[in-house]
Symmetry: C2
Subunit: 326 residues, 2 copies
Amino acid sequence: MNEFDLIAKYFAPLAGTEGLGLKDDTALYQPAPHHDLLITTDSFVEGVHFPAGMYGADVAERLLRTNLSDIAVKGGTPRGYQLSVSMRADRMEQWIPAFARGLETTQAEFGCSLWGGDTTATDGPAVFSITLIGEVAQGGMIRRSGAEKGDDIWVSGVLGDAMLGCRLVTSKPISPVPTGLELFAYESAYWRPEPCVKDKSVLERYATASADVSDGLLADVKHIADSSAVSVTLNFDALPISMGAERWAEAQEDPATAKQDLVSFGDDYGVVFSAKAKDRQAIFDSARRAKLKITLVGSVLEGAGVTCLDVDSEPMLWPETGYLHK
Amino acid sequence: MNEFDLIAKYFAPLAGTEGLGLKDDTALYQPAPHHDLLITTDSFVEGVHFPAGMYGADVAERLLRTNLSDIAVKGGTPRGYQLSVSMRADRMEQWIPAFARGLETTQAEFGCSLWGGDTTATDGPAVFSITLIGEVAQGGMIRRSGAEKGDDIWVSGVLGDAMLGCRLVTSKPISPVPTGLELFAYESAYWRPEPCVKDKSVLERYATASADVSDGLLADVKHIADSSAVSVTLNFDALPISMGAERWAEAQEDPATAKQDLVSFGDDYGVVFSAKAKDRQAIFDSARRAKLKITLVGSVLEGAGVTCLDVDSEPMLWPETGYLHK
């Protein structure tokens, strides 16, 4: 089956009307009046962002979900995406059906469709790239640059499960042995990160700046601090490390460092955002109504940089400020 | 220099205001009222779409130009693009400066800017992918599906130079030795394909369907025929093979097959389009005013498929209907 046949059989069924059956040179999209477009790109390399030979459906779900997270955290609604697939030609026929199934599941859950792309052969590791386009009401994008002195810093969801999920995926031992529920939480966090669709009501209404927790919490907070020209102080003990990850950290030789690792890893895909202190109670109430776990973790001050305080309110030494992709 | 530093130093200067300094999770674009968006993606793999180790500026120009061609041939105006770069981490620092320079030159010439993207490391061959977004007045997209029985088929520019350019690039001999002007034409055709920006006035006004000459003329015409549910007859002797390529073909052992190869190769990035026969003279006049080389090469009939007639009006045997990417 050649490139055209694979596209017709596995990708064309995923195409929205905007994709014109994947048969034209471009996709065609009619933007809603009075809306802005949000555009984001994420790429996965085999052996770097996922282990070689991993199940195609899982890779597709994770890739599309990381893109969806970028749109959701800015307050946007996803619409459609362009897909670039580069892999060994002799693997395509076996691999693409599952990959397409993963895209289909995720599209259906989050309401977007395939608009177009390119399929090419490489002799090297597979590379997948998605450019996702979303919409937000005119002027409604939540930027990184809106945090102001006096704002609170919030985190949605929990931290740490994705790091332990990555250990599972890369066959590194986890000791003590996780419970069944913990295993499920770790694997889900890694393969099915939850774009903050539920968080949107809270974000849209209250966030002054936001980012998703992808590079590592401190790095992501630093993006906000730098863009907003402010400093941020976080309270380490307030960070919402998951119960399973907390149990794992406490059993390590150096629990404090283990917790720092959990927080620095990234890939948890919750939202870190700033909001006015006066809205604190309204945010708690709004999150409760949205059944969203939300935690107050710090505050915005004058100055620059990110400081994390330990239980004695002393600044912690932090080995790194986030994951740098190799 | 890590990923963030490279982006800040070489890619951020290419960013339009839509790119938000490449510092946010998404780009932000405000579409013009009463316009549709056109979106296209092209990916290049090192060793497949360009020889390994090739000069970064050339690769960037060619990649962006192939995307620009897709937007232009649909009648659109390019606005901005997302860029995915995957390459060996230890090559990035040396390679990306020239790559960024090639993007800059092309952006400036065609009026678009970088909006965002992703930079990742791979141990394998480099993979570059661009998703380009353009605009067209509402309902103004020229589709592949609008050709009707009785329409003329036109080709802009010349055919064949790109195939000989590819021979040069891959160090295959060309005999007889090309003149200096021919060499320049071949190399330009390969590395600097000319998106049909000039053709746009003719296309916008008269084209009923269009495609760019990228897969090989017969394959590209077949896309139009299939999408429009018609058949197309081309006159082989009318095809605008370049003078240099014609001279090369005549010197080959089997000139007819050599000419078929020239026409089948693709990558010439002219436009093939259909238009009403009644507009024939107006199209000639309009092309002359636009200083655009344009050639009447065939006609649209009922039925399906593409037939190419030789000088005796006999259907030619055609080994392939275009380049299938490996």
